[in-house]
Symmetry: C2
Subunit: 258 residues, 2 copies
């Protein structure tokens, strides 16, 4: 599985990761951009059935933005039957299936099933049809399951690489543990409540000095509002140091004026 | 919001749907393919900040595969500040943020927040940087939240339209109710258990006739195995009629031979 030209390392190859199968693709550029989309999602096995212009095609490598290893290792077959013979389960992407009795899954649902099959040691494949025409009825009859992406029903048209990207992205997400939200803090850390309180004391002390909080009746509410503002989101220790500096600087400027 | 040339209807415009903001895009083609990706996911508001080659550019319409109305209604601004001035919340896509203290969300997490903001009546925007360079530090300082897609860390590079497609797809999914799996049956319907039992009786009767089930000890297990096979997935009423025909045909061929 090493590239014939030793392309860059683009991630680990899983033996039971799904095989992307391009059926009768027309343009070599689209095979290249497909390889790029596969690499984005960590899919590395590419098979090509009856490419219109033959194979290999230099333009594919040019269009792949560095996903050479996928193209180097791509296998070419004459028929869909040949391309799927050693696989256990086949999905077929199909935007508008008609007149077929077949389970249809969303991309997300299919990705989950592909992951389950992979951990069971089953080899899976995903068929993508040729540009414009899509898969024909014979191709679809070879698939266990169709995949239809939920997309704007009035504007479903995706190009080949985009269709592959959505599946590759969903495949990657099935094992991704990134929290939906985190605070990027780099070299600093999220401030503790003590560090925040330290800053609040500094701020309130300086505001008391200016008589900004002189209305005794309103004072508790005003202090509370400031606390609410400063606790709306996480704050880093470094940002608190900057805020200490801002308060000190404004205070000393005022003192110098008076 | 109607197109200047009355482009095709590509779906409803939501007043509080996110605005896609392309910052200093270079190629008009990429603005066109961005519009296409937006239409795929039902995003219709496009703003363009300082497009390198000016605006409008005919090549954008050519590349948009019919998403004309988005391009017709696109607004052009000189600065990011101008482009976001009337919005309430800004997300910035950024594959490898460095040296910033900022919340970072996944595309899915950000889409959920965009939907929540939309239902609250807040106007949101998503910044996408120029090809290659991406957003600069000043652009990112204008955003409330960064968005980083979970993708193969060894191969993150997406083109502009693909980056927009992932956000548009996730936006569409926040309101999509498609079940992860369903059986497409078209004009027929899923068989009832009674219809299945009817077929099983036919099959077993004909097998009994051939003496295929003559071993009395093994007979119950063999019948059970056949039942297991025929109940592995949903079957339609039409398929059962075909199977009835297959059994009858094989039986009568055998009878004719003997």
């Amino acid at each position: 599985m090493t590239g014939r030209d030793g392309g860059a390392d683009i991630g680990p190859l899983g033996d039971f990761d799904p095989v992307v199968i391009l059926v009768r693709p027309q343009l070599a550029e689209n095979i290249g951009t497909t390889a790029r989309a596969m690499a984005n999602g960590g899919l590395f096995h590419l098979r090509i059935v009856a490419p219109r212009d033959g194979w290999p095609q230099e333009r594919a490598w040019y269009a792949s933005s560095g996903a050479d290893r996928i193209l180097d290792a791509a296998q070419v077959f004459e028929t869909v039957d040949d391309a799927v013979a050693d696989l256990h389960r086949i999905f077929a992407t199909c935007p508008r299936p008609r007149h077929v009795v077949k389970p249809v899954m969303t991309a997300r649902g299919a990705a989950a099933e592909l992951r389950v099959a992979s951990t069971r040691g089953l080899r899976t494949g995903i068929l993508f049809g040729p540009e414009r025409a899509g898969l024909d009825n014979e191709d679809m009859a070879r698939a266990d399951t169709l995949v239809r992406y939920p997309l704007n029903p009035k504007f479903m048209s995706l190009n080949l690489a985009q269709a592959v990207l959505i599946m590759a992205y969903e495949w990657f997400l099935t094992e991704d543990m990134t929290p939906p939200r985190e605070l990027m803090t780099n070299e600093t850390h999220v401030a503790t409540k003590g560090e925040m309180e330290n800053f609040m004391s500094h701020l309130i002390r300086d505001l008391d000095e200016t008589n900004f909080l002189r209305n005794e009746q309103k004072r508790p509410g005003m202090v509370r509002n400031l606390r609410h503002f400063f606790t709306r989101g996480e704050v880093t220790e470094q940002e608190l140091r900057t805020l200490h500096g801002v308060v000190s600087e404004l205070s000393s400027a005022r003192r110098n004026r008076s």
